[in-house]
Symmetry: C2
Subunit: 336 residues, 2 copies
DNA sequence: CCCGCATGATTAACCGGTTAAGTTCATGTT
DNA sequence: AACATGAACTTAACCGGTTAATCATGCGGG
């Protein structure tokens, strides 16, 4: 390991025959530098391979140029084939890269890690914090926000939006899906709902209920946790409770896929006997048997939007919306 | 936004009636502090809610306590239903959390971002760098390593291992899979290989070739890019070239899944007409139709291992291995 | 010819820690 | 009693930048 000495501002200054301050100004593109000097300094920077030390810079600017993305630990443990968080990361990452900011990933869940995140953010390691999918009424976003740290959540926080957030139109998407089933003449429309401590779970169930109520149809609810296995179990339960149900709205594609498996196991044909609609529009749904009708939610876009919001917040841009809700869209394939 | 002033060492020192140096020593757990003073200082820290400023600390210690994980940007394109990188992230993240280090995520691929990563690492923003799956003969890991920056790769780098790496036993896993097919009496065993600019693609194809050669059977190769769609296309090609093939080893589960779809489309039964084995053992493979026989590779574990290696390297631990190869295992289900 | 004023560079203070060197003081030696 | 020793604290230098305040220089105007 060589650990070659890296040149400092001082070194560049000496080489260019100017003061540290002038080099600093050149490096930061200040306009009050004569062209000739700028040229000389740039050459020196080039020759020495100078790269500014971020720690030194942060110390005085009070900015770190990096941003934390908090992922619920539970998610990564439970959802070993979850595609939601990767997509969020992708969206956020793209935006961060465009803004030349660094992305720091943190998992949280345990009280210990929870505390760790708080200390980390408070210590000024990052200029802002994003939360990907808040579970329950997590107080952390509010706490950080109150401490003056810019925060944006993906998913409307439960218990009053005390922080800006980006979410998708769960309700509208579900309503479109359920209406689609109603219009196809389905009468016994069940749902496999998501966890009721997450807004995505709550809102999608609400959309189902409201739309069925409007249509004057009875509701039939089983609860899952967004995973395929929970979808299988929920579908079996639903069938046991109502052998004649003719449609199911599953609050996630994974659960819809599980339902598909359970229906096949029970000898039901899809969509002939039972129609099924999912929510997410993951790649996999194009290839399921049959291909899944589903509500597309723009996950990557929501990551990007969250990142853009946070950057704007950090830059102190005025008139930022507290909430942004992205549209969802019903994608009709063969399952309904 | 409040942006409450955060207390500094100085403030704590004043409150505790000692010098900055003493507080620093207490905070860093130096043994040369009297118990009484330590107590007083800790109380002051508590009361003021003091959290050390990492930038200031890094400036003098030359350590940032954070580590970069580089993901190939191309991956993020494939990412849309890729489960490999999320698993790597999970493994690395767990280990980083345990070591109380921060994880900085960077995507690279374009020459521009490539340069960005280099500058970032060289600027001392991170104490070390991990590469998740190196494409082709990427010079970046070697470059950074030569500059004295601790580097570990996931996947043996092509073109001579100039950097320590962690990989899985592709060859052994594939050999077991192909032997399984041979022992089942399959005679026309094709493969859908992965991209040949990645070690995972190369080694798996080599394993296939060597094992078939040993068995005295002819080879039959189509190339994919690890995605489901490429699996579909490759399978169609293989069938067109040899309508009588009776087995396929696909170098990824996604491609195996694609192959399954293409075989169904062609009216072939699995495993009766054609046996199929994948590689990865993603969750999805337990639920495919039929459930997929596959080679399990410990992705999360490989992320953890890579992280542990890097931390050891950073700590200057002696006698570290240049390469660690984790075992793979054939998981027999219904497809072969 | 001298003054005032831009313009552009320099000086020096500061960001918030760490740590080597120096100081103080109680204790042990002879 | 004089002095070496060592424990525990303080002083002060330093890490590598940024930036407000200051200063030098050249130029147009009176």
């Amino acid at each position: 390991m060589v650990t070659r000495e890296r040149p400092t501002l001082e070194a560049v200054a000496r080489r260019a025959g100017v003061s540290r301050a002038t080099v600093s100004r050149v490096v930061n593109g200040s306009p009050t530098v004569a062209a000739a000097i700028r040229e000389t300094v740039n050459r020196a920077v080039e020759e020495l391979g100078y790269v500014p030390n971020q720690a030194a810079r942060s110390l005085v600017t009070q900015r770190t140029e990096s941003i934390a993305l908090i992922l619920p630990e539970t998610a990564s443990r439970v959802f070993s084939d979850d595609l939601f968080f990767p997509a969020i990361i992708r969206g956020v990452g793209a935006e961060m890269e465009a803004a030349d900011k660094q992305l720091v990933l943190m998992m949280t869940g345990s009280a210990k890690s929870h505390d760790r995140v708080e200390r980390y953010a408070v210590a000024g390691h990052v200029d802002g914090v994003m939360f990907a999918s808040v579970h329950g009424a997590d107080p952390l976003p509010g706490t950080l926000s109150r401490l003056g740290i810019p925060v944006v959540c993906s998913g409307r926080p439960i218990g009053g939006p005390t922080v800006p957030y980006v979410d998708v139109d769960h309700f509208g998407g579900v309503a479109a899906a359920v209406r689609h089933l109603v219009q196809a003449g389905r009468k016994r429309i069940a749902t496999i709902a998501g966890p009721q401590d997450m807004v995505a779970g709550i809102d999608r169930l609400a959309g189902y209920r409201a739309t069925l109520a409007t249509a004057g149809l009875p509701e039939h609810v089983a609860i899952g946790d967004f995973t395929r296995e929970s979808g299988i179990i929920a579908m079996r339960t639903l069938l046991a409770e109502d052998a004649k149900l003719d449609a199911v709205f599953a609050a996630s594609d994974m659960m819809a896929h599980g339902a598909l498996l359970a229906l096949k196991e029970a000898g039901r044909r899809v969509p002939a006997d039972v129609a099924i609609i999912g929510f997410d529009d993951f790649e996999i749904s194009r290839f399921s048997e049959p291909p899944l009708t589903t509500v597309r939610q723009p996950i990557v876009e929501s990551g990007r939007t969250m990142a853009r919001q946070l950057l704007a917040l950090i830059n102190g841009e005025p008139g930022l919306p507290d909430a942004i809700v992205l549209p969802t869209e019903l994608i009709v394939r063969d399952s309904a």
